[in-house]
Structures are given as C-alpha cells and as structure tokens.
C-alpha cells in the first residue's frame, strides 16, 4: 500500500512539475483573446508619445495608421472584446502607463446599459483567463488572498492545456521557427503593428446584435473611470473618453438610455469627453457583421471624424 501511495505522489509531483515547465516555456495560446499578450508587448516596447486605445471590439474597426500619421502618436490598440471589461483592462495597463501617454477609452453601450451583460463581463471565465495571462503574479496573489485555490489551479491548468495543444500543432506541422512565439498564433496575420486589425470585418447580414436589454446607467459602475483618470493624471498621462459608433436606428430606439449615459458622464467624469453619442451615428450600410463593427466604408468615414475630435481635444 505504501509503495502505491508513493507512486501516486510521484505522479502528482511529475504533473505539477510539468505544469510549471509549460508555464515557464514561452508559447502561444490558440485563442483570439491571447492577442492581449502581443499587445502587452507593445505597451512595454513602444516609445512615447503614445496613444493607448481601450474598449471593446468596436475600437478595432478604425484605421489606426491614419490616426498615427495625422496626430504623430504611436498607437497601441489594447481593445479586443467588450466582454473583457474596461475596468479590468485599465487595471492591467496601469503598470505600463508612462508620462505623456494618452489613454483613449470607449465603452460599448451594452457593456454599461445592460445589467445582465454588465454582470456577465465581471464574472465570465473566458476573460478571466486572458487577463490572468497579462499579469499572472498579481492574479495568483489575489487568488491566494481570496483563498480561491481550486479556481486558480483550474484556470492555470486550462491555460497550460491551450499552450500544450499549440505546441503540439507546431511540432506536428514542423513549424519549429514559431515554436516559442507568444500570444495569439495568428497575431501577425490578423493584427497590424498598432494592435489594430489588418483587414476590416467581413460583411454579414442581418447585423448581429447581442439582444441588449437597455436600462438606465448607474455611476457606481463607471466610477472606476475617475480612479483611473486620477492615476493617469498623477503619472502625467491624460485620459480621453468617447461614445462609440452606433447604428442610427438603434440609437433612436434607445435614445433615452443613451442620453442618460451621456449626461451621467458629463456630470461626473473628471477626464475629457471628446464627443456626444449622436456624433458617431451611421446607417446600417456602414456596419460589417454586428452593430459594434464598422465595415471598410464605415471605418473610412469614422476615422477622420475621430481624428478631428482628438485634435480638438489635444
């Protein structure tokens, strides 16, 4: 019996050591959200003056090269998916904020006006995994403090599994030159040097809509923006906020809630708001696959308008 127990313990140790090894060796995670790691590299390496874009996937439908050229800023588009949570993302970028940085934030309407989606954002496991990858040390400490050992091991195990499968694919396809690439394996193909998409979203109809249940916003859910603004000001950086683009008809349907959101921000937000919600309204033909993503035509119209507003604010 003792022999058996010893062997079982050896097996546990072997697996724990393997997991540690997988975590230490650089490798990619085959998931769109792993692109955050590549974007984090940009945060570390890109020199000032920098414009850091934060928001959901709506931010990806912009021509960032044009902004960089017109405003002479190095762009770092940290946006990925609305479900990641703006508050969580701002927490992740804090350690990398440098003086003169310009942090441009937007929040898709659903993320703040839909109570269910708001709850989902701050509890969803998928986002947690990739936020964890951004700063594992901090998240491990937080989990240990909260005594969430099981969920910590589960999360680390799931990430290690992803990495293992990615290694396996590369080894089986003899792709050794990219064996130790980090982040999202298709990053160079899908994203440009600013962290923005290389190609506009493809057009699909009918437009995808996450069936938002609009409700009136509460400032408690937005107060983190002021915390971040205070932090940025202290580090000689600036925070700008803008209201995202939206289909005209959807805006009209929910005008009361969106206007209330605007008034709430105008009243409480300490940073600079560069537009009104009605500034970025477009007909459906300018959208790609969902109410959040512009197509190429939409991007070509919105980007110069955005540049104009940014110039005004700067």
């Amino acid at each position: 019996m003792i022999k058996l127990v010893i062997k079982i313990i050896i097996c546990f140790i072997l697996m724990a050591a393997t997991m540690a090894l997988i975590w230490v060796i650089p490798g990619s995670h085959p998931h769109d959200l792993a692109a955050l790691l590549n974007k984090k590299e940009m945060l570390i390496t890109k020199p000032s003056p920098r414009m850091i874009l934060v928001g959901g996937s709506s931010v990806l439908s912009i021509k960032s090269e044009l902004i960089a050229k017109e405003l002479q800023y190095n762009i770092i588009d940290m946006s990925s998916w609305g479900g990641m949570g703006t508050m969580e993302m701002l927490e992740e970028i804090r350690p990398y904020i440098k003086p003169t940085d310009l942090v441009v934030i937007t929040m898709e309407y659903g993320t703040i006006l839909d109570k269910n989606f708001y709850t989902y954002i701050h509890t969803n496991e998928e986002a947690k995994k990739f936020l964890f990858l951004m700063s594992p040390g901090r998240h491990i400490l937080e989990s240990v403090k909260k005594r969430e050992f099981f969920s910590l091991v589960k999360l680390m195990h799931e990430l290690a599994q992803m990495k293992t499968k990615s290694f396996l694919l590369k080894v089986s396809t003899f792709n050794y030159s990219h064996l130790f690439d980090i982040g999202f394996p298709g990053f160079k193909d899908e994203f440009n040097a600013n962290g923005d998409r290389n190609r506009p979203y493809m057009i699909f109809r009918p437009l995808g809509d996450s069936k938002t249940n609009y409700s009136y916003p509460e400032w408690e859910k937005l107060a983190f923006l002021n915390d971040f603004n205070d932090f940025a000001t202290k580090h000689q950086a600036r925070v700008l906020f803008y209201f995202s683009h939206f289909p005209e008809n959807k805006y009209k349907e929910n005008i009361n809630y969106i206007e209330a959101y605007y008034q709430l921000m105008k009243k409480n937000f300490k940073g600079t708001i560069i537009n009104k919600p009605s500034d970025f309204l477009y007909p459906e033909e300018y959208f790609a696959d969902t109410i959040y993503h512009l197509n190429d035509k939409g991007e070509s119209i919105r980007t110069p308008e955005m540049i104009k507003m940014l110039k005004k604010a700067l």
């Binding site: 058996l4 062997k7 085959p30 195990h157 599994q161 293992t164 499968k165 694919l169 699909f204």
Partner: protein, 521 residues
C-alpha cells in the same frame, strides 16, 4: 455519477479503502450501499427543484426495486417447481422475463410505440392522438433488464438461484456495471461476491492502468471527437460533403473510444476490489469482416443476444433461410435495445444486411479476389478488408448518431456534395484558397471549436488517434494486453510510458464532464 467526474474520483477511493478495511462478511453491505449511492447520485445531480417532479425518482426507485424483488422470488419459485417436477416453472419463467420487459417497454418504448401508431393512423387518415408519458427513463434500464432476464433464464436452465437477497441485489446494482454494462452473467459475478478478496498490489495497479487507458480514450479522443460530431450531426442541414464526412469519422471514433473507454474504466474499477468483469471490446476497428466486427464489439451484449435469442431460435442449425432470418432478428433486437428510435432500427438493419450480403456473396468475392490477385498479397488483402469493414461500419453509424431518420438520409445523400474545386485546390497546394474553401461563413466557430482552436484541437485528435491505433495494432499482433507488454519493459521505459499517459490525460484531456454515449441506453 460519471466515471470521468471529480465526484467519482472522490467516491472511488473511499469505497475501495473501506471495502478492504471491512471484514469480508460485511463487504457486500458496503458495496450495495455504495452502489445505491452511485445510482442515486445520478438523479441527485440532475434534480432541478421546481422543474423535476420528485415522484419521478420514487417511480424509478420502485421500478428497479420491484425488478430485483420479483426476479429474486421468481427464480426461487422456478427452482422449487422444477425440483418438485411441477409444470409451473414455465409460467414463472414467463413472468420473470415479462415483468422487467414490461417495465422496460413503459419507460423506454411506450412513447415511441404510441407515436408510431399515431403516425400510422394519421397516414391512414384515422384519428389517434399519440399518448405521451412524462417520465424519466431510468439510467441503465436496458442493462439491468438484460441482467435480470439472463438470471431468470439461467435458473430455468438449471443454475441454482441466489437465496441471499443482498447478493442478488448487488448483482443487479453493482456500481461499476449498473449504468452501461458489461452485461455480466449471474453465474460468473455472484460467486465473486462470495470470494474474499485481499489487497493485491499487482492486480490493483493493473486495474488503475486499465482505468487510465479508458479515461484516455474517453477524455482525450472521444470527448474531443464528440465536439465535431455533435456540431455536424446536430446541424447536419447546414453542412455539405467534406464536413459531413469529417463528422461521420469523428463520430465513429467517438462512439468506440467512449464506450470502450467506459468499459475499461468499469472493468478496472471492479478489478481494484478484486472482481473480474468481462471485456466488452476486442479491437473491433481491426476486424476483417462485419461478422468479425460483431464478435469484437459490445461482446457481452452480442453474447447475451446469442445465448438468449439466437440459439433458442435455432441459431445456425436450421434451414439456410431460417438461419439468415435469425441473424436479422438478432440485429433488429440489438437496434431496438439501443433506443426507441427508427434511426437505431435502420442502423441495426444495415448491419444485418451487411452480414447477409457477405454470406450471399462469399463465393463470388473469393473468386474475384483470386482473379485480381489479391490472395497473393495477403497483408494488403487484410488491410483492404479492414478498411472496407471500417468504412461500412462508419456508413451505418450515420444512422446510429443521426437525430432523426430524415437527418440520416440527408447526410448520406449529401456526403458527395459541395466539393467543387476542392481536389484541384489540394493538388495545387493552394493553402489560401483551401482556407477560404473550408471556412464556413458567418460562423464564429469552426466545426464546434472556436476558429483559432480548431487546428490545435484537430492536431491533438489526429496524434492521439495515431497513438491509440498503434496500441491497438500492437495488441492485435502480439495477442497480449498493452499492460502486460509494458510490464515486460525496464522501469525507465515503463515510467516514460506512464508519464506520456498522464501527460495526455492532464494536458490534452477534455474536462467537460461529458456523459458517456451508452448511458442513455
């Protein structure tokens, strides 16, 4: 409780530890209590307050209890009436067989039967609205029904009935096999409950290895292939040729690895405590003919059908037409046993037809093989036979998995569609075009996986399938179990192999607690 759940991995060590700590005379009580807990836990974990009626569970408990009690009493009555020379034994036999069958019919087939009658009535322009019973089908009902029938028939044929109600209950409820077999004969299992088992290190670790191999098949291969198969079969009308073919192959690997994985875990679990259950599979995907495959697939069900239906019908010792009729009956019963759905009946009929067709064409095929010289290259000939058998079984498997018969027919009539210029693109090795060809527009997932995860998952599936298939071939050629072959190697090779197995389970396993396919039967 699922074998691939955390709950089971807490339950099992406790059961095994207490089992060995208890004196032999008390062990059956512990095993029976554990089996009841294991069985009840299924319902506890699926109970939704306010949604599921509690009395469903009471009905299920009463039904299984009644099967145990009725068969226990009937077996003793058969034995008694036989020893007294009374003619009542046949009547008791009939009751003993019919009682569990009637329950099986009510729980599993009544709705199907009622709907079929209703459909026929509507076809004949008659008014017969289908009566639907709103009940939960007891887990493993097909299995414990077959256990109880075989027991009654065996007693009728001369086997001594079990007078210990506890041991008989344990025979029906024994947790490693209650849900999805293997279908054990009472004459083989009950005596094992009487034997005293001491802790045997070699036997114990052998059982653990078998469980690990079963878990590998289930969690690494079956559950991964299931993601693709479920996506394709549940949305079959949205897919064409290449995807349907991928889905079919994924399902055929899923069903084998799922069920044989389950069987390995069941046999391994019993082995930990010293019980020997029957192996249910013998590398069926290396069969050289359909009849060979059915000798290697779900062995305990097929041998049950052989002993309790095929042979009483006359087996092969009857006129040729009658023998072929008997074969077809066996397959049809097997199809109906699998589920109350026409898809299973078509699946079984197709397999029966394959069998009959191979009988009809045996001489012709032999002559043809000689003519084209296949008999001169026996290895190639064997490989070809294995491939053809596998493809035929895969084709029939479409109906096994299809949700409805119309889905099944849709799939088989669309397997060849949508290829367009695919072969030209592959020949030209135009990767970009191939990518565009394979991408399904307006879907965020690809064959059930998030798009970026698809290739790594498929590479994992392909590599693990190669690993598993290699093991099957090694075992087939050496006629030895993998565990025995490994035990003959030096320690460092053994540990390297254990490490690979553990690594695959921990880092490549799908930890989604997917149910085993055969649990629904």
């Amino acid at each position: 409780m699922l074998f691939n759940s955390i709950d089971f991995f807490i339950f099992l060590p406790v059961v095994v530890l207490v089992y060995f700590l208890l004196p032999h005379v008390r062990r059956w009580i512990w095993l029976l209590a554990s089996s009841c807990f294991f069985f009840g836990y299924f319902y506890y974990s699926t109970y939704v307050a306010g949604k599921t009626h509690f009395y469903y569970y009471i009905i299920i408990a009463l039904s299984i209890l009644s099967v145990i009690l009725v068969d226990y009493v009937i077996a003793i009555l058969i034995d008694k009436s036989k020893s007294e020379g009374s003619k009542n034994s046949k009547l008791f036999l009939l009751i003993g067989i019919l009682f569990p069958l009637v329950l099986l019919f009510i729980f599993k087939y009544f709705n199907f039967f009622s709907q079929t009658i209703s459909q026929i009535a509507s076809f004949l322009r008659l008014n017969y609205p289908a009566q639907v019973l709103h009940i939960i089908v007891p887990v493993g009902i097909s299995y414990y029904t077959f256990h109880s029938i075989s027991y009654i028939v065996d007693v009728y044929r001369g086997q001594k009935p079990e007078h210990h109600l506890g041991l008989f209950s344990l025979y029906i409820l024994f947790f490693p096999k209650i849900v999805a077999g293997p279908i054990e004969r009472s004459g083989r299992l009950i005596p094992q409950f009487r034997e005293e088992h001491t802790f045997d290190y070699q036997r114990f670790t052998d059982g653990l290895k078998l469980m690990a191999w079963g878990l590998f098949k289930k969690m690494v291969i079956a559950d991964r292939a299931a993601i693709v198969a479920n996506e394709v079969f549940n949305n079959s009308h949205g897919y064409s040729g290449i995807y349907l073919i991928i889905g079919c192959f994924c399902f055929i690997f899923q069903v084998y690895c799922d069920f044989s994985g389950y069987s390995d875990i069941a046999v391994g679990t019993a082995q930990l405590m010293g019980f020997k259950l029957t192996d249910n599979f013998k590398r069926p995907y290396l069969s050289i003919s359909i009849s060979d495959l059915w000798r290697r697939w779900h062995i305990t069900l097929i041998s049950w059908l052989r002993d309790y239906i095929y042979i009483p019908l006359g087996g092969k010792r009857v006129a040729r037409w009658r023998w072929q009729y008997n074969i077809m009956v066996i397959f049809l019963v097997s199809g109906i046993w699998h589920g109350a759905n026409w898809t299973f009946i078509i699946w079984a009929s197709l397999n029966g037809f394959y069998q009959l067709f191979s009988i009809w064409t045996e001489n012709l095929r032999e002559r043809f093989n000689r003519l084209i010289g296949l008999t001169k290259v026996p290895r190639f000939h064997k490989a070809l036979k294995i491939l053809i058998t596998f493809l035929l079984f895969t084709f029939a498997g479409i109906f096994f998995r299809a949700n409805t018969t119309s889905d099944g027919f849709y799939i088989i009539t669309h397997l060849h569609t949508g290829f367009g210029d695919l072969f030209k693109i592959i020949a030209a090795m135009d990767y970009e075009k191939l990518k565009f060809f394979l991408v399904i527009q307006n879907k965020v997932t690809f064959l059930g996986f998030a798009k970026p995860a698809f290739l790594p998952e498929m590479a994992t599936l392909a590599l693990t399938l190669i690993g598993w298939y290699s093991v099957e071939i090694i075992q087939e050629n050496s006629k030895q179990s993998l565990r025995y072959l490994i035990s003959q190697k030096p320690w460092y090779i053994r540990w390297a192999l254990y490490y690979v197995m553990l690594f695959a389970l921990v880092f490549l396993g799908v930890f989604a607690n997917q149910q085993f396919i055969y649990f629904k039967f």
